[in-house]
Symmetry: C2
Subunit: 445 residues, 2 copies
């Protein structure tokens, strides 16, 4: 038997201020390297920092010309104050005067296939995605995924704080929740099963248990078209809750969540925001338009006639966002009351006008990032609606039993993590906001 | 255009203390109901509380006999101090004297197929799972999943605090990471693809980017056997990190994470712990045994001879935990140095004895809850190992390129959320710790 020491230190950040003027030892990968006549600069990357180190030939005997980017090295030296302008470096108020360098591991190709040391990563989308383990090491690529990670964390943190319980619903399912043909089939011990298109059925069932639930998990859509807005696998940030005042509770709750996320991004991602030269949106007012209004506004202001359409075309989403920004100074528009015939069977219709649903999409900077709404909550209403649509009610029994057992008025929404990240970071393709995107042509890496 | 009010109130908990002696309005589902000659008790459940309300016929004219459990009702009444013993109720220091009751929705079957109001849920495992949307409403069932939710949240919170970045890796993959036949096949646009058995390849690639990464996500194992320890889909809590001192860093880090989780459970789940009558484990020392020692201890102390086995049998895991508890007073044992031939190709062998790996399992109360270890980090080592094992190196190119581009010494682990929850809650079958478990016979609900 061997007993190890419980050591909280293994967990901790380096607090650079406590090392000022003192010897420090750091291990990291070489993010960047500049060799000059007098010595050179070595930029080291780890989880917690990308720090500048200075190698003066008078102090360090190591042959600097043997160093290459993406080596892992251990250095020892003196931590001292500095004033660094390069926004990819943090902290920017310290640097290390190096005394010793030891190489821990090295790449086995030289040169690397793309240069990750330049201010911009000079590579097309396919190259970026093919060489993901390398291209993601570029400072700006890392910044995108730091932001994405904070969004994921803070969505959950906010909802937990206000009484939501996290759930984990199965991704292998007996039936699609969203209808249509865009569903992946699995061979499940010689039976047919599918990959979940959304946690819809499960989060509804769980409202009966916990009242307020959320989930952050992958969903799968077998979309055959390869666009800049679609992924075949993405992270859906979902919540579902009892309603007290109607479906507009959902819009207010989403606004609260997003405001919290933007506040936290401001606190936790200042380096990344500066580096990417982006501006966080502000959500100071909640602007709602009825679906039917959108066609009119677009027709009257842009002379484009979508009035016979039962859904919003991508161009229309862009135009209405442009209009909302100009007219009401907001980058967010909630579009409510989508036509009943375009929403899934579980959508609650407006009793005042059954052709419209108590549902909404949220558009942000020209793109839909959320779909949500109130759901049916009475068993009889499900049977009537599904029968009318010609659905096989029996095959949904294990879901419908929840309504038999009693369910409160409820609703919820799904927010696409990659779309939100892409819009915040001003990326032109949602794939750039996915670490390892899946599309009709891409399964690797 | 309609503008909604930004209303942080919609998010907030009810602070009962501020309503003491005042009128309060509550909406919830009827968790339990006791009708007596003078009136009755109505226990209301929502996200935030399971509160006792008192219906005195002198105060409330509503016909109490029309109420049933699992109805959603809105009540108005006076909040007053109380001293309640029932551990399924919280808060226990307040109750409501009801004046008005309104039924919002009702179950469409009566009686319900199982009684969720008794102290224990009197149902076998299959019934529990078949009727999940109802049985999960039982107070003790809810408690299990509240605990599970806090474990998930706090695993991420701790790691975030100490510099880890959350990643989301794809679940549709080009190849299995864990080898073997237990992998689900998907029809991916006429190509073969698989469901990820673990995020192994991706979290390793991401160590090269962020140094410390974690993921909390479903993994999929096509295990044909139906046991009390296995699920075909479960939540894997994973981290992967650069190592500075060797693979034992991982054991210390996992200990820190678990200690944090137990501290938070103590703070956040006091009601649930009392209700389930469980005791949280304490992790006061880190006990490590070499794999080879385990066989000897079990042979010498229990007269069971597993000495020729290259893996630990379930019985042996139970016995060594029993021994560790008696001998060292701990419910946790790390078993290190598993045989190289039993670990996957990416496992790092011990240079002092290449037949053993720098790897470990963590056993807790008789069951393995974690597998982890140091990984190979040199490209050449991967090629040599995979060639020796007769693997098709080319089919792993998109993964192996990460090592070509340079990778630091690193390792990580996966912790099964359902197993940890089941062991903490003393459940006899891991399926009881999964909301909607999947096994060879079960795809619904």
């Amino acid at each position: 038997m061997k007993e190890l020491k419980i050591n909280p230190e293994i967990s901790s950040y380096i607090d650079f201020s406590s090392y000022e003027g003192k010897e420090i030892e750091l291990t990291g990968m070489i993010q960047n390297l500049r060799i000059l006549a007098w010595g050179g600069f070595l930029i080291l990357r780890t989880a917690n920092y990308i720090i500048q180190t200075v190698c003066d030939k008078n102090n360090v005997s190591f042959p600097l010309e043997t160093l290459t980017v993406e080596q892992t090295v251990k250095i020892k030296g003196l931590l001292q104050k500095a004033t660094i302008k390069d926004k990819s470096i943090y902290p920017r108020d310290y640097e290390v005067q190096v005394r010793e360098i030891e190489i821990i591991s090295s790449p086995s190709v030289n040169p690397l296939p793309v240069d990750t040391t330049k201010k911009e990563l000079n590579a097309g989308l396919d190259t970026k995605l093919d060489l993901r383990p390398l291209t993601l090491r570029h400072a700006k690529q890392r910044a995108i995924f730091k932001i994405s990670s904070v969004i994921y964390n803070e969505f959950g943190n906010y909802l937990t704080k206000v009484g939501f319980t996290r759930i984990c619903s199965p991704k292998i399912v007996f039936s699609g929740a969203e209808g249509g043909a865009n569903i992946f089939k699995i061979d499940y011990f010689k039976r047919n099963a599918y990959l979940a298109q959304s946690p819809q059925f499960y989060k509804q069932m769980m409202v009966g248990v916990f009242g307020r639930v959320f989930e952050e998990a992958p969903v799968f859509r077998a979309e055959e078209h390869d666009t800049s807005r679609h992924l075949n696998e993405y992270i859906s940030l979902d919540f579902e809750m009892m309603l007290q005042n109607g479906f507009e509770d959902l819009i207010v709750m989403e606004t609260n969540v997003l405001r919290h996320i933007f506040d936290e991004l401001k606190k936790q991602c200042q380096n990344e925001i500066e580096l990417l030269e982006i501006e966080l949106p502000s959500l100071e007012k909640i602007v709602c338009l009825k679906f039917s209004e959108v066609h009119e506004i677009v027709f009257n202001n842009f002379k484009k006639d979508f009035r016979s359409e039962k859904d919003l075309a991508p161009e229309e989403e862009r135009l209405i966002c442009e209009y909302a920004k100009k007219e009401w100074g907001t980058e967010f528009v909630f579009i409510t009351h989508y036509p009943t015939e375009k929403r899934p069977f579980y959508a609650m219709s407006d009793s005042a006008n059954p052709a419209e649903t108590l549902s909404f999409d949220l558009l942000f900077r020209g793109i839909e990032i959320t779909t949500g709404g109130q759901r049916l909550n009475k068993y009889e209403d499900y049977i009537a609606k599904m029968t009318k649509l010609g659905m096989n009610v029996d095959s949904f029994n294990s879901y419908l039993q929840a309504f038999k057992f009693g369910m409160p008025p409820h609703g919820g929404l799904g927010l696409g993590l990659e779309r939100l990240t892409a819009q915040i970071c001003k990326l032109s393709n949602v794939k750039e906001a996915s670490l390892f995107p899946r599309d009709i042509n891409r399964l690797e890496p």
